[in-house]
Amino acid sequence: MTRLLGRHGWVMGLTALLVLAFVFTKVIQPGFGASGLDSLARATMPFAFATAAMAVVVIAGGIDLSVASMMAVAGVTAAVLMDGAGTGFSVLALLLVLGVGLLMGAINGALIVFTRVPDIVVTLAMLFVWEGVALLILNAPGGAIAPWLRELGRGPFLVEWLPRSFVLMVVCIAIVWMPLRRSRLGLSIYAIGSDELAAYRSGVSIGRTRIAAYAICGLFCAMGGVSISMATGIGEPIPGPYLMASVAAAVLGGVMLGGGRGALLGPIIAVIILRLVRMDMTLMSVDPNIATIVEGLIMVAVVMLGGLLAMRAAR
């Protein structure tokens, strides 16, 4: 009961923090409104998908360092396939990219299970492999995204202050996560994360569950990669700064490094908070380089705090 309260308390605390950050933004920038929310939602989208991807594998007791590289592969694949293609084919291309994401994640998971090398080493090696694959697909930024997909992430949805990209992000994550959470597989993912041996003895197939968790991570990465390309209109083969940000947001969102705890709601709120902090610094006309340093300091501090908390929990 107290643990349940504690978990909800964490999400509630984050929500309070988010509200505070919004109030602060409104104070320093009285004109902050629908357009501000729209640009915030669009900046958040790739980070949110990266965080969701990371959160799933961390819940399963692993970590995936190749998140940013897989996003780059998905982004360039989408841009290359949709370049000059009609609407019908671009829908097909989108599905194909999502399939590629699933496949990349499944390869990561399968390598971890079959080589018996720790996840951190395998995904470090795969970080370079996927980076190379992205470079092979597209040597320099280029390609094009289907116009209808670009329009999908722009403008408001129903009411003026609800950005369409935010709705899109929530729907995409919920469509994967909600059924999963309630399914047998979702339960198994939490089980292998919290106690692998106990899960094994209760009849959970560890290897298959782990591969599935990594495949879902890859799927979210593919969505994230497409969302980057949606924002820029082209494919970018060099991975962005999503790895560190996703780990920090997952930890800040209450996903314990080591596995078994947390959900996706907390990390998503954490991502929005982190993006809003960055936006506030831009609004206060802080030098972007200094803003990067501050952001890095926040992320490292969060990860350090997470480490201390995890150590406390282990004791």
């Binding site: 090398v117 370079f128 980076e131 190379g132 490094l257």
Partner: protein, 324 residues
Amino acid sequence: MTPQDTASLLVRLGRFLRDNPIFPLIILLLALIATLEFMRPGIVNERWIGNTIKFAIPLAMLAACQTLTMLTGGIDLSASVGATITAFVMATQVPIMGAPLAICIGLVPAILIGLVNGFGVAVCRVHPLIMTLGTGLIATGCLQVYQRFVIASGSVVPDGLGWLGTGRTWGAPNALLLFVPFAIFVLWLQRRTGFGRLLYALGSNETAAKISGVRSWQVYLALYALSGLIAGGAGLLYVGLIKAPSLSLVSPLLLPSVAAAVIGGTSIFGGRGGYGGTIVGALILTVLGTLLTLMQIPEGTRRILFGLIILAVTTIYVRLTNQR
């Protein structure tokens, strides 16, 4: 011979390779050189060997950071940033301070990065990989801010570093003057000193080491600070070789430095390996780089190959260890 004998022979061979990875590595190195000579007859001469060693030395120094931290089960992904910062700060301070003082100033941020890494790893128990990645990001941001303050002063690479980086005496690269004592120091450190023993102890079983009275936080702090210092040294040598300080000077060496340590037989999980193998690993990677350039392999394939090499070698070591 019964099947059991064959099996035990295999186990013994595996154990031998695990404990002395340097022998198969040297054979691999010679095989690579032979392939190169076969593909482009006459390429292997005194000049080529000198050049290969010259380019392998900064890599081997950077790989020393990875080797030492890997002995405790860690890794130092901020090494390339530390090296770049040292090189850049040094080169921009030379016109103001003069060479000796500028070198000392340049080494300060690198050691600082190491100390922060050590604090995060030792006290907060953050995984070294994530910790060093984070400090690397922060340090890169700081370097960009720093760059704008010194853009007017220009940058100079001191003649001494240029001589050390590119010059040769009797056909042998001058960088060996720095590297040979350095390598002997690292080998002595890991094999003969108490500090080296502590690294192996923490890497093979941290709990056991702690129960035996090792103050792990002191060791980690010293280790990561040392790693930062070595990275700074590697940066100084590399800028002497390249002679054009930039904000991403040493970044291309980060992945090969991890690969060199892994290929050299240092276990990424800690407790096994040493610097001797890493040096051969750095040579192998440099020769492999030449080979890939000759075959006109694109950059993407090169990265894929490096990643797969790390994965394959680690898998083999895991298998060998499990045969125990």
